[in-house]
């Protein structure tokens, strides 16, 4: 069938996705056919699939197909695609380790969970590498629908189905808006390819392409929804609280990575010529995200909800990079990698503390965690410090990167808003540290400790990896920075 595409075909270009898909299918098929009691084969398939995907993503970067377009420009193998794909795969790998207890506890549905995670990754990976709005839409939907299901996968719990329902309703609403934006883009340009507008910009006979501006608003809105930028954020706290702990880190991280990749493509590439139009409103969105996320995070008593709001603020910070234009692409990618690692690890800890299938994770559960489980407390503290953007952690380098670009791009006020909000944000990040380290666990009887949560081995490995990553990158981020800068 691909013969018609001629030279435009490249298996390598879609190899990572194919590996993931193969793994997903294998897991499902094995589950259906063999009805296994444990998940060891699932693990093997998944590892193979993810490993292959990572290997081929690196291969894409290293081979001559890099910086080329394939399938008649439907897919690209450019820096953004490769970086984001790698980021997605990192998120996936970490999340798989974190989700393993959930996979086990779900029984048969564990296979479906794995498959959905793999498929969601494929979806966002396609979103990040597509050169066509419809392709992008499909990727977005593959990812999103997987996430809707993930949100409700422990459906016996009331909060889980509420989360799934909210996520689904709002998600499909946002998707409709996105695709209407695509339609208007088509109406304005006659093409669905991203670079179409760029080539048309010179020959536009109308001075104010209203249709395109509305299209821009709607396309942006659809993706801003995914990355939880305020005021498109309302679903995030409810979903992150209600969805099963084991999967929520994955859900939050992967949508953010994919969403920002898409946003970057659309804003920088398709609407690159309209930068003066979209920069102020997008900057406003960034500011609003930062402020709303920070203020509401302060008011939270549930750690997962707090992380959701902080995620809104982080979306704002990353948006500073988007606002700064394509020159900030390395910084945005860096931020995404750094932040999602922390996010997955933090949610991972919450999954251990509150149970893998839990909905919500009250702060009181963390009191005295440092005594009960130093590894969990230490990691979570480090992640909190990292997210808050303290120096010597990767979070600082990431924040500094986007701030610098923002300042360079002329949105100094936004940087200052971000800086001040970072200070307020210390409050809620450090409050977790307070609970874990400064307060004593209150047992049933005096002197007895409440149950000590024990992370599983994969989880521990993931947490330690995340911790090392956070500190190592905080101390010496140059390899990673050089990598994203050279890829992008």
């Amino acid at each position: 069938m691909f013969d018609a595409l001629g030279a435009s075909t490249s298996w390598l270009a879609i190899a990572p996705e194919l590996f993931l898909l193969a793994a997903a299918i294998a897991v499902l098929a094995y589950d259906i056919l063999a009805e296994p009691d444990d998940v060891e084969y699932h693990a093997a398939f998944t590892i193979l699939g993810v490993g292959g995907a990572i290997a081929f993503t690196v291969a894409q970067w290293r081979s001559e197909i890099f910086e080329q377009e394939y399938f008649l420009n439907m897919l690209r193998v450019d820096g953004l695609a490769v970086t984001v794909r790698l980021a997605l795969l990192v998120v996936l790998s970490m999340s798989l380790l974190a989700a393993w207890p959930l996979v086990r506890s779900l029984g048969r549905r564990g296979a479906e969970l794995l498959a959905l995670m793999l498929l969601a990754t494929i979806g966002f990976s396609l979103l990040a590498s597509s050169g066509n709005l419809i392709m992008m839409f499909i990727g977005l939907e593959v990812g999103s629908i997987s996430l809707y299901v993930l949100a409700g996968i422990t459906r016996e719990r009331q909060l889980a189905d509420e989360a799934a329902m909210k996520y689904f309703l709002l998600g499909s609403f946002a998707s409709a808006i996105f695709v209407y934006g695509a339609a208007l883009y088509y109406a304005g340009t006659g093409t669905l390819f991203l670079e179409g507008l760029g080539s048309l910009t010179q020959s536009l006979v109308f001075t104010r392409p209203g249709v395109l501006l509305v299209a821009m608003a709607m396309l942006a809105a659809g993706l801003l929804f995914k990355v939880t930028a305020a005021p498109f954020h309302a679903w995030a706290p409810d979903v992150y609280q209600g969805a099963p702990a084991g999967a929520v880190g994955f859900m939050a991280a992967i949508a953010k990575v994919g969403g920002f990749a898409g946003l970057g493509r659309i804003m920088w590439e398709a609407f690159g010529g309209f930068v003066d139009d979209w920069r102020p409103p997008l900057a406003a969105v960034a500011a609003m995200s930062i402020v709303v996320g920070t203020l509401l995070a302060i008011a939270q008593d549930d750690v997962r909800r707090m992380l959701a709001y902080s995620g809104i603020a982080h979306a704002g910070f990353i948006l500073i990079g988007i606002v700064s234009g394509p020159v900030a692409a390395p910084e945005v990618a860096f931020y995404l990698i750094v932040y999602t690692v922390q996010l997955v690890a933090a949610f991972g800890v919450s999954a251990v503390v509150s149970g893998p299938g839990s909905s919500g994770s009250a702060r009181t559960e963390y009191v005295g965690l440092a005594r009960r489980s130093p590894v969990l407390a230490g990691t979570l503290a480090l992640m909190m410090v990292g997210m808050s953007g303290m120096p010597v952690t990767s979070g600082f380098v990431a924040k500094f990167g986007v701030f610098r670009e923002g300042w360079d791009a002329g949105v100094e006020w936004l940087v200052i808003v971000g800086l001040v909000a970072s200070v307020a944000a210390f409050f809620f990040y450090l409050r977790v540290v307070v609970d874990m380290y400064f307060r004593e666990p209150v047992g049933e009887a005096p002197g007895t400790l409440v149950a000590s949560p024990r992370p599983t081995a994969p989880m521990t490995a993931m947490l330690i990896a995340a911790a090392i990553f956070t500190v190592a990158v905080g101390l010496y981020a140059r390899p990673l920075l050089d990598f994203v800068a050279s890829v992008l």
Binding site: A115, L119, M135, V142, G152, E156, T207, R208, V211
Partner: protein, 178 residues
């Protein structure tokens, strides 16, 4: 001629759409939606999108709406719904948003600046959306998206199974404390 058709089916489409959001009974809403879909199918034909029109009728009006009605019946919500608003500020907000959009539309009509002038290449002929024409495109330049939607279907089916397939025996004790 086309104008007449546009008027007639335009009214049908709008009325159908309005009945979706105004009907107290979901069944009426579903039927209204179906009416709109049929009206749109007519427009597709007018706009030379023959295959689309056919698919619209078969898949959308036929399959999807049937699924809707099936679920309506299954979960027995085919009774009238109280449509008084209970969330504060929801109605005014919705109305406000609506008015803003209408305003935008009017502005778009009035203002020259925002007028929409498609740049059809000189001598472009409106394509005839026959099955063959569509298929040629679908299997060449749109091949990847076409393959990708299969993922979508996989996801959808997994989702449906996961969410709706109910296995009481598999319920774990720790899952039931909600």
């Amino acid at each position: 001629m086309e104008a007449v058709l546009f008027m007639i089916f335009g009214v049908v489409a709008v009325v159908g759409a309005l009945s979706v959001i105004l009907a107290k009974n979901p069944v009426y809403a579903a039927l209204g939606l179906m009416a709109t879909m049929f009206a749109l199918a007519v427009f597709y034909v007018i706009n030379l999108a023959h295959l689309v029109a056919a698919v619209q009728v078969i898949v959308y009006a036929g399959a999807v709406m049937t699924l809707f009605l099936f679920v309506i019946m299954l979960i027995g919500v085919d009774r009238a719904e109280d449509t008084t608003e209970t969330i504060r500020y929801q109605r005014p907000l919705a109305v406000g948003v609506g008015l803003a959009i209408v305003g935008l539309g009017i502005a778009a009509v009035v203002s020259d600046e925002w007028s929409w002038t498609p740049l059809a290449p000189a001598g472009a002929v409106a394509p005839n959306g026959t099955m063959q024409a569509v298929a040629e495109q679908l299997f060449s330049s749109w091949a990847v998206p076409f393959e990708a939607v299969s993922l979508l279907l996989v996801v959808a089916s997994i989702g449906a199974i996961t969410l709706a397939y109910y296995l009481p025996s598999r319920r774990r004790k720790e899952d039931s404390d909600a």
